[in-house]
Structure formats: C-alpha cells, structure tokens
Subunit: 410 residues, 2 copies
C-alpha cells in the first residue's frame, strides 16, 4: 500500500502538475466534487470583470461585433472539440444539456422517420430520461421510448430504433460504455447514437469521430470548469449536420439572423443548432474555464483519472476494512473519473466528511461519490481524503445527530 510520501512523489512526477496552478482552490479543503461543479480558474474573475466593465459597460451593443460575442458559441466550441475527439466544426456551445438533448433527439427522430423508437438505458442520467419522456409525451404515441437495463441494449437494437441515447459515464457508478462497439452495433441496424458526455468530457480521453458516434451533448460546469450552470454544448457528426433540423429554431440558428426575414432558414453547419441569444457572461466564463486545458494531453488526463480512482479504492480497502460496498468498477479503464461507495448511512457519513473538509457528493439512496479532476486533484488529496474517511468510520462520527438530518443536497 502507498504511504503519504509515495503520493507526494507521484504528485511531484505528475506530468499534469502544472495545470493545478490554473485554479484557485480554497485553503483547507479537499475537493472531490469537480464532477458536480468544477473549481474556479485563476483567470475567470478578471475575464468576467473585463467582459462586464469593458465589453458591456463601455462597448455596449457594439460588442456583439467588436468583442465577437456573436462568435462565442463557436469560439467556445473550438476549445471543447479536442476534448471530445470531434472536429472544430462539429461542436457548438448553447443552452443547457437538457435543452440540447431535446433538440438533437427530436431532430434525429425527424431524420429517421418512419423509425420511431428511442432506446435508452434505465440508469441513464435522470434529466436525460425526463427530457426523452417529455418528447414521448409531446408526440402522444407517435414515438416510443424504450428504457431498458444496460445488458439488454445491444440485443434490442433493430431497424425500429431511430436513436440510441446513452450517458457515456454513469453518474452513480462511473461505469463507462464502450462507445466504439455500441456505435458500430447501432450503425449496423441504421440507428443513430447520441452520447451525453457530461460526466466524461474533460476527465477522460474521448474520441467521438474515431468511435463512430453520431451525436453528443454535454455540460460546461463539471470538468470543463465553466462555472455554475455554465452553458452546455452539442456535437453533430459532419455528415449529419445538414440533414438534421432541430425544432427550437430561434434566430441564432438562422442562416441570416440579422436579415429579420419572416421564414426560418437553418444556417449551415453547427450554427443551426443554436436557438436564442447566447448568455454572454456564461459563455465567457466557460471560454475561460476551458483555457485550463491549454497544452494538456487528454491521454495523460485519462491515465491520471484511472490512477487516482485506483488509489482511492485501494486505500479504502486497506483502511476502511469492509465498511463500504464498492459500487464502481475496480478496473480504471472501465470507469469514469469517479468512484462510488455504498453505505446505508452514506448521507450522514458524507456530511461528516464535508464538515471535515473533504467535499464529495451523495446520490440517493446510499451512494457516496468521489470525483477526481485530473487537472487539479492530487494523489496526496486522495490519500488525505481516505484517511479522513477512515477516521470518521473508526470513531463513528457520522452517528452524531447533526449529520443524520437529511437536507436537500445537490
């Protein structure tokens, strides 16, 4: 088992160590929740001050052109593309993940008619399920949502399936799908694939094009460090872009938005997947957040993600002696950059841990989730976090009244 000094040595040798200086991390906190909300980059506050006081305050309306606000969805997309293995012209930043899912799923269904089945898995992220349910309800029987357990997905792919919509990394267990194998199986029956990358992008090596993915969505506020509720993004493979028309056809997706013509005419390429006016402050913060990936190798990110998770699990097994059920894969190549532990008192334990300065996350009913952001999580952070956890378990600290009251958690 590794000792603390070994972890310090790993940090000293970490090829990504340079990236940690790009974040403003609060003193005395070990933050293992970058998969819920990424931490604040050092440069974001100054960027936003410049946007607010300079571009908005002094530049006023003219900043749509002079500060290229109008180009922000594409500029931000150029930073996201290499993180997900898509072309720069295959991504656009816009709206929320939920709204983007609606756009792409409905556009895909239109394109795939008369196929009318959307296939998804039971463990898909809830908001994705809700949006697909909303789409099904809207069409009142004209489309059919099939929600199946993971192991039944491949055998259910047939020529009735218009779209297979999956989340690449399971938010609870961290289990990842084999994007290449699933895309190939879907393509064989003519189904399109749509991947939610929210819990993957920025923490793993992704290759949408190489793996044959058709469509993708993802959020900007987790590993991309865009800030709370940052704009999301969507990606459409080049060969599909001009075949898909999405129904949230606001003016930003028009071929000539400032002609103010009466008739919607979708822009070429990714711009057609825009709807209303982009939220400039959110886009600017996301743009700045993505700069934390400048010069970063996603292969090294992937390697460190696996290593941090492996380290966490091995330390838990050594120090917490059977207290937890490991609720994620032990194979770092089959896991996102997170690990999960199950415990009937998981909520109270997590509260005690947070009070102790280690911030993780809790997911109903009993899952404690720890995320590792390879750009700023250190090996020694993992060591110290597990030590803290072991101490809480040993002393039964979480049994104190103040931890067991269940409040709203995020």
């Amino acid at each position: 088992m590794l000792a603390r000094d070994d972890c310090l040595k790993l940090d000293a040798d970490d090829p990504l160590a340079f990236a940690r200086t790009r974040f403003r991390l609060p003193e005395g906190i070990i933050y293992l929740d970058g998969n819920s909300l990424g931490t604040l980059p050092v440069t974001t506050a100054a960027r936003l001050a410049a946007v607010i006081e300079g571009e908005w305050g002094r530049g006023l309306i003219q900043s749509w052109n002079k500060a290229d606000w109008i180009g922000l969805p594409s500029r931000v997309a150029k930073r996201i593309a290499p993180l997900i293995g898509a072309g720069e012209d295959e991504v656009i930043a816009a709206d929320s993940t939920s709204v983007n899912l609606f756009k792409l799923a409905s556009a895909a269904l239109k394109h795939q008619a008369p196929r009318r089945v959307i296939l998804t898995e039971r463990e898909n992220f809830p908001t994705d399920q809700y949006v697909l349910q909303g789409l099904e309800a809207l069409f009142d029987g004209a489309i059919k949502l099939k929600t199946l357990p993971r192991e039944a997905l491949l055998s259910s792919l047939d020529d009735s399936v218009a779209l297979l919509a999956l989340t690449h990394t399971d938010y609870k267990t961290g289990a990842i799908h084999d994007m290449a194998a699933i895309s190939a199986a879907a393509r064989k029956v003519g189904a399109l694939t749509l991947w939610d990358l929210s819990h993957s992008a920025g923490a793993m090596e992704l290759a949408l094009n190489r793996d044959g993915a058709d469509l993708a969505i993802g959020c900007g506020y987790k590993y991309l460090n865009g800030g709370p509720g940052a704009p999301a993004y969507l990606s459409v493979a080049r060969h599909l872009q001009d075949k898909l028309v999405q129904p949230l056809s606001g003016w930003m997706g028009h071929a000539a938005p400032f002609d103010f013509s009466d008739r919607y005419r979708p822009a070429d390429g990714m711009l057609r997947f825009l709807s209303g006016t982009p939220v400039v402050l959110g886009m600017a913060a996301l743009d700045e957040g993505l700069k934390t990936f400048d010069g970063v190798s996603m292969r090294e990110v992937q390697a460190k993600a696996s290593a941090l998770g492996d380290l966490f699990l091995s330390l838990v097994e050594a120090q917490c002696d059977g207290e937890f059920e490991i609720a994620c894969s032990r194979d770092g190549t089959r896991r996102g950059s997170q690990v999960s532990l199950r415990h009937p008192d998981g909520y109270a334990i997590m509260q005690a841990l947070i009070e102790g300065g280690v911030i993780g996350d809790f997911r109903s009913p009993d899952v404690m989730r720890f995320g590792f952001a390879p750009l700023y999580t250190r090996y020694v952070d993992v060591f110290d976090a597990v030590e803290k956890l072991a101490g809480i378990m040993e002393r039964g600290l979480w049994r104190e009244q103040r931890f067991s009251i269940r409040a709203a958690v995020t």
Copy 2:
C-alpha cells in the same frame, strides 16, 4: 418647440431622475439602444465578482444551497413580476425567450387539443415566428400556424384557435397591442393568449393579470438590464399552471429533482417550466440588473417613455424637415418606448450617427430605431441626439464612403 434648457428643466423635475445614478453610462455617448441591450448597472460588476470569487470559488458546490443558487430562477422572477403585472408566483426566470416560447406554445397546444391552430401576426418578432414554425414542422401537419396581418387577427379568432401568440410592442414600429381587448376576444372563443414582452417590460406599465393575459415570455437583456444574453423569463396565469406540462422536462422542473427518480413528475406551480440547470452567472447579473427598478413607479416609467418619444418626434419634425418618414405612431400611448424613422439610406445615417456618439439601431431594410430607457435616458439626451442627427442630414455626412458599406449589425 422645446429648447435645450427646457429639456434640462424636464430632467431636473423628472421623478425618475434618481434612477440614472444606478447605471454606469460611458462618457460622451448618448445611448438610445437600451431596447437592444440595457446598460451596465453600477453594482453588477461587484455582484458578479462576489458570486465568482466567493460563492463559486470558496463556496463551491455547497453554494447551490448556501448561496441559494437553486432559488435564483424564483428570486429573479419576484423582481420581474411587478414590472409585468403578474403575481410573484406566476413568473419564473429560465433559458432564452425562444426556448421559453417553445415550452409555452407546445404546452398550450397540448392543453387545448383538439384545437390545433396557432395564430400569430406577420410582424411578430422573427425569432418568435421561427420558433412557431419549428413547432409546426415538428408536428408535421398535426398543428397549423396561421400568420396574418395585424388587422386580420381579431376576425380570425374562432374555436379552431388554440393559441394567439403576439409580441406586445412591435420591434420595428413600436406599435403596441391592446392586451385587454385582444385577451377578451381570445377568451370569448376559448383561445389562450401568449405575449412576448421583450420590447415592453421595464419601459412601460404592464398588467398581465388585469388585462386577462394567459401566458407571457420576455428577455432579460433589454430594459431589464440583465446583461448580454441574460436569461429570459416566462409567466403563466395561476389558474393554468397545473394544467400545462411543457416538453423540455429537465430535472429542474421535477417535483423532487434531487431524488433522481426515473420518472418525470412536474413540480407544482412555475417550477415545472424550468428545464436544465440555471446559468448562475447570468441569473445573478439579471437579479442585480432588476434592482435598478427598486422603488420605481411603472406608471412614471410609462409616462416618461411616452414623453421622451413625443419629444424625439417633435424635434425631428422641426429640425430634419421632411427628411424622414415617421414609421411609428405619434400617439405616445400607442407606442412602446421607442420611435422609428424610415430613410432609404438609414443604414449609413445610423453609422454616421454612431460615429458621432449617438447609438441607435438599424433594422432592415430602412428603419432607424431609437429606444428610450426611462430609468437612464434624459430629455436632454433626446435633444442632443436629434441635434446631432439634424447636423448629419444637413451636411450630408452619411454619404461618405466609410458609412455606406453594409456590415453585420446587431
């Protein structure tokens, strides 16, 4: 005709003069484009710095509860409600105007089945038309969008009409609809009304409830001073809230979002009209922008809006002697807080005016548009702007090459 000193006197007596100190207005600029993008409030930069460095940087994920990020859509809505004459529990801030239109129009259609006609006017704001066209295309004939000239609307209201969707203030001409009369006519045949308030809210006295409006949407970045691309809002009359279910059913609209259950169950009241995670930086800026209305009487706002427009038009008639066609109503009670002039060289004239420090707006093919934000536009600003315009016309300045090249305008 009023002289400059008369205008200074009007400003000195203006009961809203106190509000101007709430904005950071650039030196040497007369800004008559608050109906495109409101100016920067004095307190916004500090608020955003606190959100970024304190709430995000130090508070991290816990700020969803501790800084009540989760409550921002409702908190912002409470500030918007009195500006539009709706109850605090009848408004929510979310997404973009276009996305909100899609939500409400599709929810209304569902509720109104088997009625399947959406009625709108030919001069409706383009993005609203595009979104309704998107909805029509999505349903492939199952719903029918009827786009008619303004004067044909009332006579086309019959029991096939599910929804009448209008923009309250015309973006080009400033013409306003009689909300009470139209709502009553719609109600008589059982049609719902949906009002886009983007060019009205914050510059006029609005009374959704008194006037019997059913649904409304609007943007946050014009007279509400929320910043570029600020989140939008939507409003649903109390009696309709639990009858409408919108299809962009993301987790923020779930009755229990953090239960992460598999099945969408819409929240009670306005929360069900939320979709994905709210963009916190944009919401905070909008919240701060709305504080510029603290203690402001919307009746006085309405009166000043009419007076500023009347002043502008009378000065143009006196000083520009037949150069322009007046493209808006001369009756201040039938106009939003804007005036429009037509000129075949309108684009070049507007460019020359902007170079001269007066910022207005141009709308294809020939409309020069001037907006008045009663909270910060002064009578003397109007005087000086028209004087500048008259000077440009007199000297034919706009004919210079550099103004006539048509570039992208916003």
